[in-house]
């Protein structure tokens, strides 16, 4: 059902942890649909210097959260805003079609975190 790449990150995620001193947090999804993704970011010189996630959801949701963090780390905020679900899926390899929304959620969670960071600056 799931590719090796998805399974690797599901069983051994690299970015799965709470970040107590995050500069911003983005959370999307709800219990009703079975997915909640929370992305934490730390920003230094307009770059994402650290990133982590906490996710309630299925295998694809957890793996896409982890890949998203990997893609976004050390990117500038402007670069990170341009990350799409396609980039996440490209990293993960094949996912079942009904699971594509999981990687869209990952992208949305990151966007929300960046928005929160930028609105704090204003």
């Amino acid at each position: 059902m799931y590719s090796k790449k998805v399974m690797q990150r599901f069983t051994k995620p690299k970015f799965a942890k709470e970040m107590k001193d995050a500069d911003a947090i983005g959370e999307v999804g709800n219990v009703k649909c079975g997915d909640i993704m929370r992305v934490y970011i730390k920003v230094k010189n307009k770059k994402i210097s650290d990133i982590s996630f906490m996710t309630y959801g299925c295998v694809a949701a957890i793996a896409s959260s982890d890949y998203l963090c990997e893609i976004a780390k050390n990117k500038t905020l402007e670069q990170a805003k341009k990350i799409t679900s396609k980039d996440v899926i490209k990293k993960m390899g094949d996912v079942p079609i009904i699971k594509i929304h999981c990687s869209v959620l990952a992208q949305d969670a990151l966007k929300k975190a960046i928005e929160q960071y930028e609105s704090k600056l204003k």
Partner: protein
């Protein structure tokens, strides 16, 4: 990772008993006749067919002519409902429950689109159908009441004797889907006033692709599958003799092995108690004799079922979930949602169904790996604050 598999998904399907396979084999290559043929090979097949029919009939206190062989539970359920509906076009009301198997619910939905009124009975927090609502729902327009006997997800065994009595008093047909409960708890079609009942083989260590429909003598059904008129014109298609032989053998073995029901029940309760020791867990369905002897279904707060299933699968343990994320339509289990309108409970539900092949050491290994999976997933769940 060891390559050993611990199979705890026996409500999905079971391992075919070696004795069943042995019984079936000659019917592929030696006794391969068509039961409709009038020559020796045909007669041999027909005799086998009728012998098997009697075994199934005796097991539920029915007459052999009341047993119709089908391709399994789904076909039996479809035939019961559609066959009755086509037989009496005047009655356009069917009563069922919110916790039926999809093949009942989707058949009812089809009829709903055709103008039928369907009443979906509520269930209480343990999954028992509301019998007062049932009594009050029956009208002169009611064709049929269809209630699942043992629930496939949460194991609740309905009081079919009381339901049968209500239906008899109100003079409506009573169908029950007994695919999960068959041979695991008492079924007596006379005592329980059952008009129609669906059975199948692959849940009881028999082969896939074979089942039966009990139709009480005198009840007329319009076939939904037309052809050569097999099974007394009610279900055309050459009889699956090897499958039917295997089905009958699996019933004989199950009946001889009453002791294993006790052992399975003990193991079930041990597993339930051990799982409920984990924080943030909730048993779905009742405890005790009103629960199918091999069913355990627990919801884990803060984590999602598919992740638990896949994590256990990596450790060689096979279980299933009512989570949306494992389904084709992304809706969580309608059964758990009927107990309580709580998505987290439905998404986080895991079903373990044991069998006569399950060992206590399998259960202990499962508990250990389950603890570890739940802890790992909760560590990065944004919902675990609820536990404290």
């Amino acid at each position: 990772m060891s390559s050993k598999i611990i199979y705890l998904d026996n409500a999905a399907t079971t391992k075919v008993d070696d004795k069943v396979i042995k019984e079936m084999l000659p019917f592929f290559s030696e006794r391969y006749g068509n039961a409709s043929s009038i020559h020796k090979k045909g007669i041999e097949a027909k005799e086998t067919l009728e012998k098997s029919r009697k075994i199934i009939a005796d097991s539920i206190n029915a007459l052999p002519e009341e047993i119709l062989f089908t391709s399994g539970g789904t076909e039996s359920n479809n035939l019961a409902i559609k066959g009755l509906a086509l037989q009496d076009l005047n009655k356009k009301h069917i009563i069922t429950t919110k916790i039926e198997h999809d093949c009942i619910l989707n058949t009812c939905k089809l009829l709903e689109q055709q103008g039928y009124k369907i009443t979906y009975l509520d269930v209480d927090e343990k999954g028992f159908a509301d019998l007062n609502q049932l009594k009050n729902s029956i009208t002169t327009n009611t064709l049929l009441v269809s209630v699942i006997h043992g629930n496939n997800e949460i194991g609740t065994i309905q009081d079919i004797e009381s339901i049968g009595k209500i239906c008899q008093e109100k003079n409506v047909y009573f169908h029950t889907d007994a695919c999960q409960s068959y041979t695991k708890t008492e079924i007596d079609v006379k005592k329980q006033n059952i008009s129609l009942m669906s059975l199948n083989a692959h849940k009881i260590h028999g082969p896939k692709g074979v089942g039966a429909l009990f139709i009480k003598k005198g009840i007329k059904l319009t076939p939904i599958q037309h052809g050569g008129g097999q099974e007394k014109n009610k279900r055309s298609g050459t009889e699956n003799i090897p499958g039917i032989v295997g089905f009958a053998k699996s019933v004989v073995i199950a009946q001889k092995n009453k002791k294993s029901i006790k052992e399975i029940t003990k193991m079930r309760d041990y597993l339930i108690n051990k799982i409920l020791e984990i924080k943030g867990t909730q048993l779905n369905g009742p405890l005790g004799t009103k629960r199918i002897c091999n069913n355990v279904n627990v919801s884990f707060s803060g984590i999602e079922g598919e992740s638990i299933v896949i994590m256990l699968s990596e450790k060689g343990i096979c279980v299933s979930t009512g989570s949306a994320c494992s389904s084709k339509n992304l809706d969580p289990s309608h059964v758990i949602m009927a107990l309580e309108n709580n998505s987290e409970r439905a998404h986080g539900s895991i079903r373990f169904t044991i069998s006569k092949y399950t060992k206590k050491s399998d259960i202990d290994y499962t508990i250990k790996e389950l603890n570890s999976a739940v802890n790992r997933l909760r560590k990065f769940s944004p919902l675990t604050h609820k536990l404290n």
